[in-house]
């Protein structure tokens, strides 16, 4: 691209937006609609993912220690556990049988049956936190294989459930985003095709004067890019409003105990960047595809 053509392409792209005002408005509306739908699903996925991550952080299992082990052997065992893959080295805690009893009694302080329970009933144990929930079962097996681990208690089913829900939500979000991106691309492409059709004579003159395909195509790509960015900016503010409204509705209904939305201030930069990138890409690609047919002169 020649230096003095760049300004021309931008100028032409801008002027074309205004000279085909209605068409441009339609294209921006379509981009806004598609980005809001895509954005809503993405934000839902992000929130579900965030919630599951929070639950994951609390996810741990207990490894009971062989009663014949001396304190030195227990220390050695703890070091070995910390070295196992997927075990959080800072998340391995030694719990004595006395501490375990105290924890157990919380909530049962008035029940004589538990209060008089001897310490020997319980074993010393490690509370072990895992990093990746998907490798939960393998990690538990690796810990249990160590000599000195007499038994364990792990909620494998719960961990697997978390993983399944997360994967399903992520997959659904990806599929929907892909479908909506394709739909947006198609709509933008058609809108630009109409604009290109109304300028086919101009394109034919350009080609007859010796314009390269790139020279003809660039103003349309710039136009699509600008429309995409405009649509993205509008969609961002609307999305913000929708997100705030949903958050308020959840708070009013008292559902926040089950599901709390992330603060928009925590994610707005990411949302804006993704919207702008998606809008620009959809606009530019859609225009690029649409113009192809009219270059065959």
């Amino acid at each position: 691209m020649r230096r003095f053509n760049l300004g021309y392409f931008i100028k032409e792209g801008f002027s074309s937006i205004f000279s085909h005002g209605l068409m441009s408005f339609a294209a921006v509306c379509m981009i806004v609609a598609c980005l809001i739908i895509m954005g809503s699903f993405s934000l839902l996925a992000v929130n579900v993912d965030g919630m599951l991550s929070q639950l994951e952080e609390e996810n741990e299992f207990l490894a009971y220690i062989d009663e014949s082990f001396t304190p030195d052997q227990v220390r050695t065992l703890m070091e070995k556990i910390k070295q196992i893959d997927n075990v959080d080295p800072n998340g391995v805690t030694f719990i004595t049988r006395e501490q375990a009893k105290q924890d157990y009694l919380k909530g049962h302080e008035t029940d004589g049956l538990y209060v008089n329970m001897p310490d020997e009933v319980l074993r010393d144990r490690f509370s072990i936190h895992v990093i990746d929930l998907e490798k939960f079962t393998e990690t538990v097996e690796a810990v249990c294989a160590l000599p000195g681990v007499a038994n364990h208690r792990a909620e494998n089913k719960v961990a697997e459930g978390f993983v399944t829900v997360r994967n399903a939500v992520t997959a659904l979000a990806y599929v929907l985003i892909a479908i909506l991106a394709a739909v947006s691309l198609f709509i933008i492409s058609n809108t630009t095709r109409l604009a290109a059709f109304s300028r086919r004579e101009e394109i034919a003159i350009m080609k007859m004067c010796g314009a390269t395909d790139g020279f003809v195509r660039w103003p349309f790509i710039v136009e699509g890019l600008l429309l995409g960015l405009m649509g993205a900016a509008v969609a961002f503010f609307l999305q913000w409003g929708v997100y705030a409204a949903v958050g308020k509705a959840l708070a009013d209904s008292g559902a926040t105990a089950l599901f709390t939305l992330m603060e928009f201030s925590m994610i707005w930069k990411r949302v804006l960047a993704i919207f702008l990138l998606s809008g620009a890409a959809i606009g530019a690609l859609g225009s690029g595809f649409a113009i192809r047919k009219f270059l065959q002169v």
């Binding site: 021309y8 000279s19 003159i205 350009m206 080609k207 007859m208 004067c209 010796g210 395909d213």
Partner: protein, 254 residues
């Protein structure tokens, strides 16, 4: 060194031979060799056309409607390809020209149409700038070239006018200016006077003749007999896709 001298002597002898025979060494602008064109619907538009146009010539391509004139123009501008035969324009072999080379080939041509094909929303100046920008000219080049070309076609005071504010003759002058502005080696005019009255037609043809006198090869496609007969130029006549006559200072006979 001796070989080089021998070569130069041989070349000089050839030039002398050509000059003594009254012929000048001129570049071939258009070469059509046994051209056949059959469209997808089965219409045979051209049947074995052979044509050679040299640099600086003024040629009328004449023939009735449907004779194949427009097909020849489309072949020369690489809008379509021949079904059989070879098409060479300004040294470009259009039979195996690559897509990316077509714009470069077209930059050596200026094309004028019957319906002017000006951009209505641009001024005269804007239309010419548009054509120059297409080939990557800078603002400085445009400021230098456009007034010169407008002066040449007699529209120096119309730079800011819009096409719909001008007469048909003036619009065709703008189209000629646009064809000229990139300094092409050859101009192809497809029925340039088709939409004009006889007086304006004569003016336009005189202008094309003047441009040709300045060194630009001119191929004018027309079916206006009176106009062709008024200018004593080479006339190539085709009928039903076949070349029926080709002569210098020729006439267009029915």
């Amino acid at each position: 060194m001796a070989a080089k001298n021998r070569y130069n002597k041989k070349a000089d002898a050839s030039i002398q031979r050509l000059q003594s025979s009254g012929r000048e060494m001129r570049a071939i602008m258009i070469r059509l060799i046994d051209i056949h064109k059959e469209y997808d619907n089965g219409t045979k538009a051209l049947k074995g056309i052979n044509l050679r146009i040299e640099d600086g010539e003024f040629v009328f391509l004449v023939g009735p409607s449907g004779s194949g004139k427009s097909t020849i123009v489309k072949l020369l501008t690489a809008e379509i390809t021949a079904s059989k035969g070879r098409v060479i324009v300004n040294g470009y072999n259009l039979n195996n020209i690559r897509r990316w080379q077509i714009p470069h080939m077209r930059r050596t041509l200026g094309v004028i149409f019957q319906d002017f094909r000006l951009i209505e929303k641009k001024t005269v100046q804007g239309n010419l700038e548009f054509a120059m920008r297409t080939v990557g000219a800078s603002g400085r080049e445009m400021r230098k070239r456009i007034p010169y070309v407008l002066d040449l076609v007699g529209l120096e005071d119309k730079a800011d006018a819009y096409p719909n504010e001008m007469s048909g003759g003036e619009q065709q002058r703008v189209a000629i200016a646009r064809a000229l502005v990139n300094n092409p080696r050859m101009i192809i005019a497809d029925e340039p006077t088709g939409n004009l009255d006889p007086r304006r037609s004569l003016e336009i043809m005189t202008l094309l003749e003047r441009i040709n006198a300045m060194g630009t090869t001119m191929l004018v496609v027309t079916h206006e007999r009176d106009l062709v007969n008024r200018f004593s130029k080479r006339v190539v006549a085709i009928k039903d896709g076949e070349l029926i006559r080709d002569g210098q200072g020729g006439y267009y006979r029915a």
